[in-house]
């Protein structure tokens, strides 16, 4: 309880960023991408059948990203701001260094504070691992209605005790971590998509299996959420 009420901790009580992976017509994109799609017609909404990720490109700052001419300035800027926002916060330098290594942490910069959207005077009093740069890549998701959707993903690159501030080591480790994560996400999206498809096509082919052993009183009682 003391950690929760420490006056030094950021008092923010809500998550920084949320995404949906499966739900709705614009699934697998963050919020901004979803708002202008009006294609919803019935409850059987299309579902994401697969996602693919391009290799991420490392940039030390927004200008390097813009100059590379792979992404638009807006993508470069938003990804950078979101990377800044994603920094884990610690209420002491010691706690931060314990997690990220000696010399890896700093109090928030002006950029941090702006990205966090907090008022200037609410900032300070916390520590975060120093952002060395960030990585940006493309995510493509395919939907069961045949539509394909592109969006960008991004990932902060921090200084830590393994990379000791070495840019190549830091980006290599981040690339590996992202590849593992993307592999897991792709696998589970594909497996989930397959099962939805299978289920929709399912027939009474399974001989010898008893069903309807649950849900027998459902029509009498309506929904079961509470």
């Amino acid at each position: 309880m003391s950690k929760k009420h420490s006056p030094n901790l950021s008092r923010r009580k809500r998550s920084v960023r949320l995404t949906l992976a499966l739900m709705g017509a614009g699934a697998a994109v963050t919020l901004a991408g979803c708002a202008d799609d009006n294609s919803y017609e019935s409850y059987e909404a299309p579902h994401v059948t697969g996602v693919a990720f391009s290799d991420p490109n490392p940039y030390r700052d927004v200008e390097e990203c813009v100059e590379a001419k792979v992404y638009t300035r807006q993508t470069c800027e938003t990804s950078y701001a979101d990377s800044l926002k994603a920094a884990p916060r610690f209420d002491s330098l010691e706690a931060c260094e314990q997690a990220h290594g000696e010399g890896a942490c700093a109090p928030p910069t002006q950029e941090h504070l702006q990205a966090s959207g907090g008022s200037q005077n609410s900032g300070g009093g916390w520590f975060a691992p120093a952002l060395m740069g960030y990585m940006v890549g493309n995510m493509m998701s395919a939907s069961s209605n045949g539509s394909k959707l592109h969006s960008a993903y991004h990932e902060p690159v921090y200084r830590n005790r393994e990379n000791r501030g070495n840019w190549n080591a830091a980006t290599a480790a981040t690339t590996t971590r992202l590849a593992q994560r993307h592999n897991e996400v792709s696998k589970s999206v594909a497996a989930t998509g397959r099962s939805i498809t299978k289920q929709r096509a399912a027939t009474a082919k399974s001989m010898g299996t008893q069903r309807s052993g649950f849900g027998s009183r459902s029509s009498a009682r309506g929904g079961f959420g509470s």
Binding site: K4, H5, R11, K13, R14, S15, L18, L20, A21, L22, M23, G24, A25, G26, A27, L31, C34, A35, D37, N38, Y40, Y43, A45, G117, G118, S119, R181, E184, V185, K187, S188, V189, A191, T192, R194, S195, I196, K198, Q199, A202, S206, G208, T209, Q210, R211, S212, G213, F214, G215, S216, R217, S218, S219, A220, R221, G222, G223, F224, G225, S226
Partner: protein
């Protein structure tokens, strides 16, 4: 705690449709409403809701521990004896749970009073965890609220973390999700939880409860899906007490399928837990006096509420205010014993009563959702209203 009028986002219905929120209007009546929000101070949220939620959650887990040790207490909860082994086994082996919601009467001052626990099949989590969050982000963006406005809401983040934790314990990281047919709201809630599971790296296939299969002769196997593949782990938005009375109920202890919520949650989703919590913690500031009701057919005295052990969405609840006003919501839950609980008024804003649903994910209090109703009993049709901390 204030109820403050605010402009609706002009495009919110389209947005809702695009974000998979298809039950924002139920049978022509509004369910999600955003022409007002509830405003709290940080102190109200942290001291009066978050801390008590975590403290009560601990008391609940203590109670589960005691009840698991006692045949007498298990039988007081009207849980059939064939499930006792599974309940004890799931508790003692430390099977994790996913989530629960505590419903509080709280007016902004004084201790929040626990009205009930929804610890087996709680809903409104998509509205609270996701759509409410989007609402605040957009209202701030559209200058309807200042930039420092906040919200008690890391529900989705916690769900993903809790599902990732569960996923590590499951073979192949696979967790089936299930609800009953023809219930859009239940299906959408499960779809949202599947979404979180996928984000947590799990494989999250869906099967309707009615479609779950059993192959006779495979007594030590698992329930099976529509392709007769084993269901090793399944999240069900379907209550234990219903399963216990159904054809497959008695197979649950014999088969190896892991359940979420785990069987031990049957203890906490049961309103008979309320008198037991009171008995074990009499006088606790966040608990209301509650007792087993030996004579459910007798007239309810003023200042008391009568609730069946098993009921949802306000059904079959009867209350008489200290002033003698009686309210009753009819429903199908007529076949279980009852408890009585001391009446505690919910705060009133205009002609609406507000109820605070406080979410616990894993074992952490992580957000709230507010429901309001003209009546004193919150029902499935009660409106969901977003909140902000200022």
């Amino acid at each position: 705690m204030l109820r403050v009028a605010v402009n609706q986002r002009p495009n919110w219905k389209e947005l809702a449709a695009n974000l998979g929120f298809h039950f924002h209007t139920i049978e022509g009546e509004p369910y999600w409403t955003e022409d007002a929000y509830y405003q709290f101070t940080m102190e109200q949220v942290e001291k009066d809701i978050e801390d008590p939620t975590e403290a009560l959650h601990e008391l609940c887990l203590d109670a589960v521990d005691r009840i698991c040790d006692s045949d007498a207490l298990l039988s007081r909860l009207a849980i059939p004896e064939f499930m006792w082994g599974s309940i004890r086994e799931s508790w003692r082996s430390g099977q994790p749970h996913l989530y629960g919601r505590m419903d509080f009467a709280y007016s902004g001052t004084g201790p929040a009073k626990l009205l009930e626990l929804n610890y087996d099949t709680p809903t409104s989590i998509y509205e609270a965890g996701f759509f409410q969050w989007v609402w605040l982000e957009q209202v701030i963006e559209q200058n309807g609220l200042p930039r420092h406005a906040d919200q008690f809401n890391s529900i989705q983040e916690r769900l993903i973390a809790a599902l990732a934790h569960i996923g590590q314990r499951l073979e192949g990281g696979e967790l089936y999700f299930s609800s009953i047919k023809d219930q859009i709201e239940d299906r959408a809630t499960v779809e949202y939880l599947q979404d979180c599971a996928v984000q947590a790296g799990l494989a999250a296939p869906f099967i309707y409860m009615e479609d779950i299969g059993h192959r006779p002769g495979s007594e030590h196997g698992c329930f099976v899906d529509l392709d007769n593949q084993p269901i090793r782990a399944l999240f069900k938005l379907y209550p234990w007490e219903e399963m216990n009375t159904e054809a497959f109920g008695r197979l649950v202890p014999k088969l190896a399928t892991h359940w979420f919520e785990p069987p031990w949650k049957a203890i906490l989703s049961n309103k008979a837990i309320l008198p037991l919590l009171w008995e074990l913690n009499e006088g606790h500031p966040n608990l209301l006096p509650a007792f087993y009701d030996p004579e459910p057919n007798k007239t309810l005295p003023a200042g008391w509420v009568r609730k069946p052990f098993f009921s949802r969405e306000g059904s079959n609840i009867e209350l008489v205010t200290p002033g003698g006003e009686r309210e009753f919501v009819s429903g199908p839950y007529t076949d279980s014993p009852h408890i009585i609980q001391a009446y505690h008024p919910m705060p009133r804003f205009g002609d609406r009563h507000a109820l605070i649903g406080s979410w616990v994910v894993g074992d952490k209090a992580c957000g709230i959702g507010i429901r309001e109703d003209v009546g004193r009993i919150t029902k499935d049709t009660s409106c969901f209203v977003p909140h902000a901390i200022l």
